[in-house]
Amino acid sequence: MAEHGAAEESSRVDPPGIALGVEAAAEPAAKHETRNLAEQRIAVATQWQLMWWRFRKHKLAVGGTLVLAAFYLLAIFADFFAYVDPSESDAQRSLMAPQAIHWFDEGSFKPYVYALKGTRDPMTFKRVYVPDTSTKIPIRFFGRGEPYELLGFIPADRHLFAVEGAKASESLFLMGTDTQGRDAWSRLMHATRTSMTIGLVSVALSLVLGVVLGGISGYFGGAIDSVIQRIIEILRSIPTIPLWMGLAAAVPNDWSVVQVYFAITIIISLIGWTELARVVRGRFISLKQEDFVMAAELVGCSKSRIIFRHMVPSFISHIIAATTLAIPAIIISETSLSFLGLGLRPPAISWGVLLQEAQNIQALVISPWLLIPSFAVIVAVLAFNFMGDGIRDAADPYL
């Protein structure tokens, strides 16, 4: 049974959906030329450019990325965004409500807050602070405040919020204070730094574990694959939180803050690696059967060359997507552990540590501002999810 042959003369590999018609002659000039130009741009675009164009179309993903950029800016310049030392406590200033910023002073834009007067509550005899409407303390943006070290070594003293004619530690409490009288806003800034960086370090560890084990499993197949797969399945069917709690509780009480930080990071990274390993293994298995791999083998490339120069570049974008999507779980785990008191310990500050203050419901009802860090968690997780989704869709829209 004979088939007709219609030769296809497009010789380049086209991105999906766009065919290059070799004939352009008989078309009306202008319109066709611009369209042809666009097609040619697409045809010569690199893989990354294509990804970027697709990613850009995803409004949510772009939005998420911008939000994350803002968060990381906060993290790097936490000292600038805060205005007092986050550990400076004053028991008498505990659980103060957030101060209202008054933006206009007699018609002109001059933000200020009221000073706080310490008085004794006649009923409880405790010292309480109430706004003193006779004294206005102006707020300056980018004003001078307490000194700190920018990026760890550049001395500076400018803060986003600063007050004139008074000490910030006595007069500015934009988000209120916690049970120990520490300024909640400054603590939030520093907590952002810790929580966002733990996410990165942890996911890096998970990535290494996942890529190595998943890669070995997928590339070599056979018995190794079975063993590693069983291990992953077992780990996935165990409730993880009791295990982390156990591991975290095992961290000795006398370790330094930094040691605890790293211990927690390692513990948390032991969760996410299974998912990454699964993705990597899947990619290796499907790539092993691709013709271009066989072609490389036939040409005589060494195994490592095949892996690193041929296979890896074709799925690196998927790995990036999977990694980004693994970060939210890590942030949530750190927050949960610290919330329970099993994670980071004071004086370390993270969102989870901040939320520990909110454990007591009675206190929470009186001081609802203690819940504000939860919005930070939710927004960060959402942003990572959107960005990760966007990257994943851009990497392979047919996935």
Partner: protein
Amino acid sequence: MQNAKKPLLSVRNLHTSFFQDEGTTKAVDGASFDVLPGKTLGIVGESGCGKSVTAQSILRIVDHPGRIVEGKIVLTREDGSEIDLVKLKPNSREMRSIRGGDIGLIFQEPMTSFSPVHTVGAQLIEAVLLHNAVGKKEARRRGIEALRSVGIPKPERRIDEYSFELSGGLRQRAMIAVALSCDPRLLIADEPTTALDVTTQAQILDLLRKIQQERGMAIMLITHNLGVVAEMADDVVVMYLGRVVEQGKVDDIFHDPKHPYTKALLQSIPSIESVPRVKLPTISGSIPHPFNRPTGCPFHPRCASFMSGRCDNAEPVLAPVGDGRKASCFLYQ
């Protein structure tokens, strides 16, 4: 003997387009043809010429974002009355009774045309129950009979098996059984043999011919394989880019093609009689991108008989070029 029997199905000026964000694709761009009762109409063309979409349009199962924009599809019912299928709502009771009842459909890929988690019998019996007012037991009996009539051995056992338990040829037969279970007057076969090996292909074609003779059923055979057309069809319609470019009796088309596209197609078939050691002729160029349709005659960029100024300026219409034949080409207009 009447010269022209009343057509069973009459498609006139069918336009079906897909509306996507990136642009509108005119999958079927003005197709017109008739299917005569008891006869086989072959629809030929390259992939992407709109043959399958035409079949889907007839059955009103065009997938979103596609829809029929214009045209008439007139079906003559058993009692002689006519109904325009375009005017029916796709999910209406009437259309659904026609779909599967008056018109049956078989697909190219028998494996994926059956649900993997339902038995073949379940899907067969469902079809019977939909179009016949019978009970389950009777439906099952008819199902077994249908399987037997397409040549499946031990149908009482096979009816309870899953599609993955049958071989490729048996699966295709089962699919034919489902399509035939309600005794349709028209069977649309969309590339029924493309996924089969040559021997099975021959068997299936024999089966179709036998059934046609037994029941007087019309067949609309969609394929890109000219050999199958030559063997099975009585009339042929050649499509290109959603349009009918030529139509006529099978012998006329094969021995005396009028349209340049048909000529080029036929020339590119390897044949025992062709001159040895000469390069096989191909059609120059390639199918234009759906968003990039040529103005004027859709084939002119690749046409050996291209007439500048005429073929790129206006669109030819399907006009008679001889006894019962039509072609859409300026060579004859």
